[in-house]
Subunit: 341 residues, 6 copies
């Protein structure tokens, strides 16, 4: 929508208005360049543009993962549908149009991967997915510094601080299958926290994560996420990371995860769980430096895609992934010539 | 609305809900921290905050103008009403609320001075003023790189590219009393230009300004602005200046006025014409460097206020302003003691 | 002193010249916008302004802590006395005036919380507190990359590299109750280190912290800090954090703590120890990016205040704080209606 | 070559390896992302990417010029051939490949418009054009702060300080048809200046331009440029502008032209003279702020294209361009309905 | 003093403690890295470091001026004495030590050229010169947005807003030989202006400069400056330029001179008048972008030195400088070989 | 080569053309300001300049290490030979000249410490060392996000993505003594990884490092590095660190080491292993913020030098280094006077 018409790292384009163009896709990427719901620093409208190109390698539709030994952009059929036209001054129309686009993707059998935009878009993102998979049948794993469960803000029901409340109220996502990771700071207040408790949400504040370890917290969350649910929606607000790792965002909260922790967590989720929808939100290029936040968002996406690809490979009988295996172990260590090829 | 609750350079606060608080004011400043209408780079929501404080001098409610020999913050009663609450995701509500605030100020007899926000706010700004002074009785002098006369954009009637069309359509401002200064570049297209011609607008593109000189163009415009109109609304989009002088804005267009030209033009307008409303818009701090755009916007405001103060002083029998007079000429050049005081 | 006259996140103002205005306060915040003692990059004079406003939430004098379940700005009476006027070119007058302000606060029974400024201000900060609580009766916990125990630098006894030496020499703080955490790098040299050893200071260099763990080091330090002392002064130089987490500072030293580590350590100190004074120094906005250093400093302050509030609540019979307790556990998990309310 | 594969503001792509793809083109744009010849700040390799997209309007292959009343991207057939692959570490191969690409375009009858890259590329740019139009038959108008007539630098014949010497030595461009505008500063030294005088170059240093006026200097230069030459090559080094207007460049020299001056001069050249090749070089995004230098470069290109389009329109019998004509004068000022349409 | 020990563009070093080291020098450069007198943004302490190296050419002690046809670093004996040690927290000692250094240079017969530092240093700079040339015998030409004639600020007699008052009070410089160029904005107030008038200062505010032209104003000022004075001190506060051209400064005031205007004015002063001392102040690197302010300051210095060199050449019988003469005119336009050499 | 002629933190200069000037040196620093081999963001040419001066302490040739209790710049004879002249447009000449310089140093008995430059320079760096110590007799410990084992890129054998392949092919370094630490992301692809496996390289990808711990991986690597090799070359690409800690680099890859981890690892390598050559590369100042990447690179160098100094001290009978020992333990804790001195 803003700037040139590009696709994510050069993958093929598709057109949501033309079902044949994305038939058989595994993942369809769509941009939601909306930041009218931001309560503070705007700029996430440029997130889709930044996330699609923040990479120093050629934009050739190929990214072989060192760690997972797959090429997600080749092993999966990943297409980019471009951006939903979002006018930041009209939040209701934007939400409606995004939901429609996401649902179209979901209904085609592909995993929608939405490039935000501010976190407002999680409402149409997850609801669009749930409309296809069934309300209440998709759990949510939500990385964020903020609970995003506000009620009315600035006189409005919608915005980047409220999508999770609207999702639960709409019953698209069950409150007791809502897992939040990385919360911290000074928002929301007690009333909202009480409301969250009443929904039986499970929110891991950073103190608990530090004390118990992220690995243990994730394992616990995974069990909840897969109980009576068929799929998982993964929503990554880049501000879950510490501002040192992700300065380019609207509402930075010190004391967050490191980039490494986020990448490893996303990988594990997409490898171990049946992820049916993903969004990566709140990357705000005007506040970024040397594109480091956009690079991180781009890698979160690639990590997710790689793990989905490896999960499918494993499911199809491939070797389970072993994170301790050395990079070069098991490779064709004898030159073809020496091997008599 | 964003950040701490401050007033313009420390002037006194007033409350638009309490008429007594601004009774007798000459000028009332109000912030319109809205940027949901921006077609490209957002950030103008932080304009009011930046314009109020971009000054290295103490925030003491005093600014003696070297050039005009008045202290606008003391010689005039200037108050700051704070910000209208504007949710950038809801353009229609924001426009309504801003118009209401501006009308309240205008109706009190004061000159409203609105701190944008993106240029969307010129619609409620000028309409709020015209509601008081009479539709068609206020002319417009509009500094901008862009005509802002678009019709529908992003499926919406409102936005920062359309306020001038809506103003003329609503008959708040007559098309043939609409003076535009500084246009340039590659927008809008022929259809919109035809529409503008049909409204008998007078638009000075930079080429004409360079060829004829800004002084001559302004003189010509002043004659139109005061013909059959009782007052003038001055709308300053900071992008009328060259990006070298005003990088912190949403849609920078190279080849604009220098800071000096803009300050001198604003001064002349407010000294020579009966200005009844002012807005300064499109200062976008996230794209600024070393606050130079915010400083410029702050000085545009002070220049306007100083000239209004001097105009009133002259009208009350004071000496007419002579721009060629040396700074120290006519000052009390003999020390009080030597003068026997 | 610089820019508009604001208070810390909107708490009420008080006036150090008017004792009634801060009677009964628990904490009084005061700015020390001095950077004339900086040996390299200046800019910390803008620290107080930045620390007061670096937050994306409304400046409403309320900040409910997710982790500690208190609202420090409401559960405590926190006031802001504004800035001590500090002329950076006159270090001695500035030190004198800051000490006077701090002592005034301390003498009133409140905890002074000083917003630096460069680290020069730790001298008047801690001495002002010790004048009230008794020389030698207050221990120091000092987070910093640097020991700040230089003797004469640039021909002067005062500056941001020397306050700790002056404090010990003046006997305001006992050398053997001086705990330093986070030291690293290449300063000071052997003679100064010998002097420090002679004072029986206990300085935790990063190597020891990495090897033993920060938790163990803190526990050890706490025992020293409370031995024969009635109170603890907490001095946080933001450069104790790694430059990746705190770039906006005067003398960044790679290899420091993460934001998370600092926040957790400050929380623990203020929850477990009788803190009687705090300063947060060396935030230098001109070198910051996207305000991340200012945000970190703001959160250090809120973490300290929250822990003080929780400590008082616990002391008054409240439940001791359990860092492993899930965020929503123990909240009013049954909606009022369902509970028959 | 770097980043996504985009075209200039959305014009159609062509392929230099496929002559049919650019048959009948008026202008073919090609990127030369080379900065291995830079003597100081690199980054011009990202010039093509930045110049193609530095615009806030939709990338829709249309840009109606307000001043010239043409739409250069529609009135001309403008195509974008993408980038020549340039390895910055291999200057000789890069020069060879760029020259080949430019010659291919020139030979097709189109005007090549090269997006630099550092000024090294002017050698293959102008030589590629001269190979088609005839050595010595094309004059050069060269905007720059620097003469770029160095001999051997860093032990090499090629680089961004030497292309003009190599061009004259190769006889591609006659020294006495070499017009330089905007030189200033402290380079080159007397020997090189003597060499330039011997070639009968005509170089307008800023002092002469200030004293005589740019308009007069250009008029004089135009007479030389068209004497015994069939075409003009226009080479615009963005550093001809003052660093305030063009900070994002490798070797900024204070005291240059304003943006407005450069745009007006480029317009006049392309309207009045038979331009057969253009390059815009030395835009270095890593040193830019808020993209203002890239925006300026983009507008230099559009100004050139617009003037070429208007020149052709005038040549085909259209009304000569009058810079003093008001923007809306002569437009369809009666609404279609009122006109009975 | 800060960073590595370098000299201005590679000229030879001298030592003020060793008179032999600067015997026979024409100009001695000395740094005054002091910013303790800044009323707002600090950073000018890094001015000397930045001014010495802000150039993309080799640091080889040679800079042939295109415009003036001299090489000031070779035609004059220019030495660099390094920095005076200035502790920004101790303004009085710093002033004393700078004055001593400047006087030492002046007494040796060389022109001192001081690299600021904030404008505080003009007091010791001009007083150091006047001590040698005679109190009242040196006039002042002062480029600045601000009059710098404040009395007491922050309780102190010294600072960057007061040096000109102290100079006149001390009778080092006569008030009626004090020429100020470029003033504008909202400081100082009437009382200070009255004081200035009483001293018979002549201050050119920007309005007068725009109306009358800078050239005419300078000519008028030159007559005053040379009346009953033997020498001229030139003090250039970089903020005399518009913030678009000089963002990296402490107290930017919109509406100033362009870079080109300042360079031409400095050149003319140093060519036409007997300059006996120079300072260039208020370059603040932390607020600069892409070093453009530092580059401008560096060129101000080179322009001054070049003009001094050309003035001496002319005085020694050389051809007077003609600004309208084309760059290559009069050069050795016949190649040595062709000329039979 | 760029900017002023300085040495690393003020150590003495030597001249590679004059063997006497570096006779007896322990370490000779040399700059390789080459970035023509960069596949994406350039700027590393300014690495040597930045690495030499990125320190807030005086540039006095002394840096007492707190952790290691040595002063590497005094306890070792460390000299700086300045920069090898590298024209970034000519990669082959640059490689040749760098190798020659490094070999000269190595042959003198000193450890060469090369300041990059992009990683292209590792080829001449390590080959220059191996030419002296024997091909195959020096192992490599290589910190990097990237394997740098590409074959032909951009049609060229040389560049910053290929040095490690060329080193192994040339047999300067044995593939099975090549240890890589910190690899991650999406490059290179399977064919290159197979080639690496065939060479029996040992590459620690971040996943393995996170799972097993960096300490254990290093210990394992050390055993390989010292098996049948006499020395170790340490090559540190700053992008091994997370972009949050090292934004100023050409090809940032999220998820890397922290600064602390890198410093500790470098220290351990240089303390435990016989390091015979070091390079620190890919610091790119144009992309840095607040110099934090340059500071990190500077500290990597100091950490390496300190550990070498301590290793020699220990080898000479000094106390082995104990990382758990408190900073002040074992210092002269009794004041000289009290001790009767």
């Amino acid at each position: 929508m803003f700037g040139p018409d590009i696709t994510f790292l050069g993958v093929e384009r598709c057109d949501l208005g033309d079902p044949a163009s994305f038939e058989g896709a595994d993942v369809v990427i769509v941009g939601a360049p909306f930041d009218g719901g931001t309560s503070n620093r705007p700029g996430a409208r440029f997130g889709p543009m930044a996330l699609r190109q923040a990479c120093y390698l050629p934009h050739d539709g190929s990214r072989p993962s060192l760690a997972l030994r797959v090429d997600p952009l080749k092993d999966l059929k990943v297409l980019d549908a471009g951006d939903v036209e979002c006018f930041s001054g009209d939040i209701e129309t934007s939400i409606r149009d995004i939901e429609e686009a996401v649902h179209t993707i979901s209904a085609s059998g592909a995993v929608p991967l939405i490039l935000g935009g501010d976190h407002t878009v999680a409402l149409p993102d997850a609801r669009g997915v749930a409309r296809h998979h069934g309300y209440g049948r998709v759990s949510m794993i939500h990385f964020d510094a903020h609970a995003d469960t506000g009620d009315v803000e600035f006189g409005n029901l919608y915005g980047h601080g409220q999508p999770m409340r609207r999702l639960i109220e709409s019953e698209a996502i069950r409150g007791d299958r809502f897992l939040q990771i990385g919360l911290r700071g000074y928002w929301p207040g007690p009333d909202t926290l009480d409301w969250m408790a009443q929904q039986r949400m499970r929110s891991y504040e950073m103190t608990e994560i530090v004390e118990r370890g992220l690995t243990e917290c994730l394992t616990e969350a995974f069990a909840i996420a897969t109980d009576e649910c068929d799929g998982v929606f993964l929503s990554v607000d880049i501000d879950v990371c510490d501002p040192g790792h992700a300065p380019g965002t609207g509402t930075p909260e010190p004391g967050g995860l490191s980039s490494r922790q986020l990448l490893d967590a996303v990988r594990r989720i997409c490898y171990e769980l049946p992820v049916v929808g993903i969004d990566v939100v709140e990357v705000s290029p005007p506040y970024d430096h040397a594109d480091i936040t956009a690079y991180l968002g781009n890698r979160v996406i690639l990590e997710a895609l790689s793990a989905i690809a490896r999960r499918r490979e494993t499911a199809a009988g491939g070797e389970p992934w072993d994170p301790r295996k050395p990079l070069l172990e098991g490779r064709r260590a004898v030159p073809p010539a020496a091997a008599g090829l």
